[in-house]
């Protein structure tokens, strides 16, 4: 686990030309109420961001039960859904984010090998 994180440091540090340090990840987590899944997803997301993005991220959590009209804009079907608003292009990751590897791929934080 640790080695994975470390091995990630390199591409992350080798990325500045495509991904400047000051670039902030804007992540939007759509959930439907405070379910087990949504709580797990939020916890997983927080952890991943801390580990891989340092302070360069912002997480907005949108509860669709409170703001159902927002589902349309980002084409949300699944709960929970994580949307990477920035940097472009828009990426969507669905599920409770329990598979860190796939989340990193989804967020373009890890190059596909």
């Amino acid at each position: 686990m640790k080695s994975e994180v470390q091995s990630n440091e390199e591409p992350a540090s080798a990325e500045p030309d495509t991904l400047p340090d000051q670039e902030t990840y804007i992540l939007r987590l759509y959930v439907a109420g405070q379910t087990r899944k949504s709580l797990t997803a939020f916890a997983n997301l927080k952890k991943i961001c801390e580990e891989h993005l340092g302070g360069r991220y912002r997480i907005e959590v949108i509860d669709l039960l409170e703001n159902p009209q927002l589902a349309r804009g980002d084409q949300i079907l699944a709960d929970p859904t994580l949307v990477r608003k920035l940097p472009p292009p828009i990426k969507k990751i669905i599920g409770d984010l329990s598979n860190t590897e796939r989340v990193l791929i989804g967020l373009d934080l890890r190059q596909m090998e």
């Binding site: 997983n44 669709l64 349309r72 079907l77 699944a78 599920g95 329990s98 989804g106």
Partner: protein, 571 residues
């Protein structure tokens, strides 16, 4: 008691949401099951989206039931454009809060799946749309896109099951479309979740003619038509045609109308055919079927009835020209709008389209008389069975409107006639058969009435001619062997009769003259005798007077002698 129970049951029984789609409500006995999901499956281009959309649009427009259309494939703009051509103003309906089109876009490439999820987002979205306009109808077109968008099929299937349950709880009537699968009704087995009503659409090619068909595979809790029903996508949406007409309940008119040919009327019980009846004119090529039909039209127009003529062989101008050549001028009636000729090639489109075309023309024109010329040509547009089905429906349709129908039927040769026409003869009330008779190396035309329901009719085969003055049915001349004389034989017989009559006339005149002469001579004799009589009479008179004179003279003489003799006189 029983009645109460049955009405109570009726109230409990399935409520239906009328589709407003022509014909579909008939075969579903009222529409789709209200508050339940309905699966519409079919291959690409079979009209699933249209059916779903029409259900919503008609619901919003005609039944006050707002609808939500969830489009997984097309965007709202695309749908709006596509349906504008069908006269569905989706924007207007949306503006009036009677319709919501929600385009759900799923791009697998931008979705990563990590761990557990559900489709609550879809439910929330749909729920919001439904609640915001109080939708009673929902269309999901097509849900199967979800299968390509999400990898975890287990989750997807359980979510679909939940979705249908949820739709039922919401009480919306939901039309769900699905792509036709190889072995199952839908590619991803959606029919597994929709147990209430499944409609299958099909677009088949048969002999290069495409026919769309609709079948209700199942409909829980309701009776429904079980056949495959052809349907059409027309300018104003779907039109389903029930193959077997639902009833035979048309009123039969007792009014008789002339065929336009007096002697033919005579053959048909002296009064012509019934209004609203169907008349089949069958015959081989060149027997004059069209001429009879045109003559009928002219007579009808003259009576002030409207005629609609469906021509499948000739163009309108050709018909008019040809009919004019035999003294049947239809142009004035066309000009005055009393008559209309619709000409199409039968193979231009499928059977059903013809039927629709005919029906639509009938709706707009409102004819009293319809001619289908020739009905046999329609068989090019479909299989025998299809033709028969179509004709059954067509004829029922017309009979319901009390329209008199004249169908001409081209038959190959006389012996095959029965085979060919049998299929439709049962639909016909009157069957007039035209045929050529070959005798003395001539072809002559003969007309006979094979059948005519509800009237006495002639059993005589009559010869007819197509002349400058129209159709003339000739006098009957029977030959020495009892056969009908036709053509030159008839003409010869006519001539012979004429000659005989002339000869007879001559003989009579001769005799008359003879008698006159005799009378004259008798007259002369009488005159001669008269004069002789007069002569004799004169002679007699003279004789008498002479005698008298002589007697007087004798007396005088005697007196003289006596006086001379001084003798006594006799006095």
């Amino acid at each position: 008691m029983i009645e109460e129970k049955s009405t109570a049951l009726k109230e409990k029984s399935l409520k239906k949401a009328p589709t407003g789609i022509a014909g579909l409500d008939e075969i579903t006995y009222g529409g789709l099951p209200e508050g339940r999901p309905i699966l519409v499956c079919g291959s690409a281009g079979s009209g699933k989206t249209l059916l779903a959309m029409e259900f919503l649009v008609k619901g919003a427009r005609n039944y006050g039931e707002p609808g939500v259309f969830v489009a997984f494939e097309e965007t709202s703009e695309e749908l709006t454009e596509n349906f504008a051509s069908l006269g569905f103003d989706l924007e207007d309906l949306e503006a009036g809060n009677r319709l919501i089109i929600d385009h759900i876009h799923i791009d697998k490439s931008e979705i990563e799946e990590t761990g557990e999820y559900d489709l609550e987002g879809l439910f929330i979205r749909l729920g919001l749309a439904i609640d915001s306009i109080g939708a009673r109808r929902v269309a999901l077109d097509t849900l199967e896109v979800l299968f390509s968008g999400f990898q975890n099929e287990t989750i997807l299937r359980s979510e679909l099951r939940r979705l249908f349950r949820w739709l039922k709880e919401k009480g919306v009537t939901a039309v769900v479309t699905g792509e036709r699968g190889e072995a199952s009704l839908t590619r991803y087995g959606l029919e597994e979740y929709v147990a209430d009503c499944v409609i299958l659409l099909d677009n088949r090619m048969e002999e290069q003619i495409a026919t769309r068909r609709l079948r209700i595979v199942k409909y829980r809790g309701s009776k429904h038509g079980t056949n495959e029903y052809p349907f059409l996508i027309e300018e104003d949406g779907i039109s389903v045609l029930p193959i077997t007409s639902l009833s035979l309940e048309h009123e039969a008119s007792a009014e008789r109308i002339s065929t336009g040919i007096k002697r033919l009327d005579t053959m048909l019980g002296d009064q012509g055919c019934y209004r609203g009846s169907t008349i089949l004119i069958s015959g081989t090529a060149g027997t004059g079927k069209t001429s009879f039909a045109a003559r009928f039209c002219k007579a009808a127009c003259k009576r002030g009835e409207r005629c609609l003529y469906f021509a499948f062989e000739e163009s309108p101008s050709q018909i008019i020209r040809n009919m004019r050549s035999i003294g049947i001028d239809l142009q004035p009636y066309i000009d005055s709008g009393m008559m209309q000729i619709d000409a199409t090639r039968p193979v231009t489109y499928g059977m059903e389209m013809h039927l629709i075309d005919i029906r639509r023309s009938m709706e707009t024109f409102g004819p009293d008389v319809v001619v289908v010329d020739p009905i046999s040509n329609l068989s090019n547009a479909g299989t025998d069975n299809e033709v028969k089905q179509m004709l059954t429906r067509l004829i029922d349709h017309m009979k319901l409107r009390n329209v008199t129908v004249i169908c001409t039927s081209l038959v190959d040769h006389d012996s095959a006639e029965c085979v060919n026409a049998q299929g439709i003869s049962s639909l016909m009330d009157t069957w007039i058969k035209l045929r050529f008779f070959e005798s003395d190396s001539e072809l002559n035309r003969g007309i006979s009435v094979i059948k005519s329901r509800g009237m006495e009719h002639s059993n005589q085969i009559r010869e007819y001619l197509l002349t400058d003055n129209g159709i003339e049915i000739q006098d009957v001349y029977l030959g020495p062997a009892g056969g009908l004389l036709m053509g030159s034989a008839r003409a010869a017989m006519e001539a012979k009769e004429l000659a005989e009559a002339a000869a007879q006339n001559k003989a009579v005149a001769q005799r008359k003259r003879e008698l006159e002469n005799k009378l004259k001579s008798l007259d002369a004799k009488i005159t001669a005798l008269d004069s002789e009589y007069d002569k004799e009479k004169e002679e007699l008179k003279r004789l008498i007077s002479e005698d008298k004179l002589r007697c007087e003279g004798l007396e005088d003489n005697k007196k003289e002698i006596a006086s001379i003799r001084k003798a006594d006189t006799s006095e």
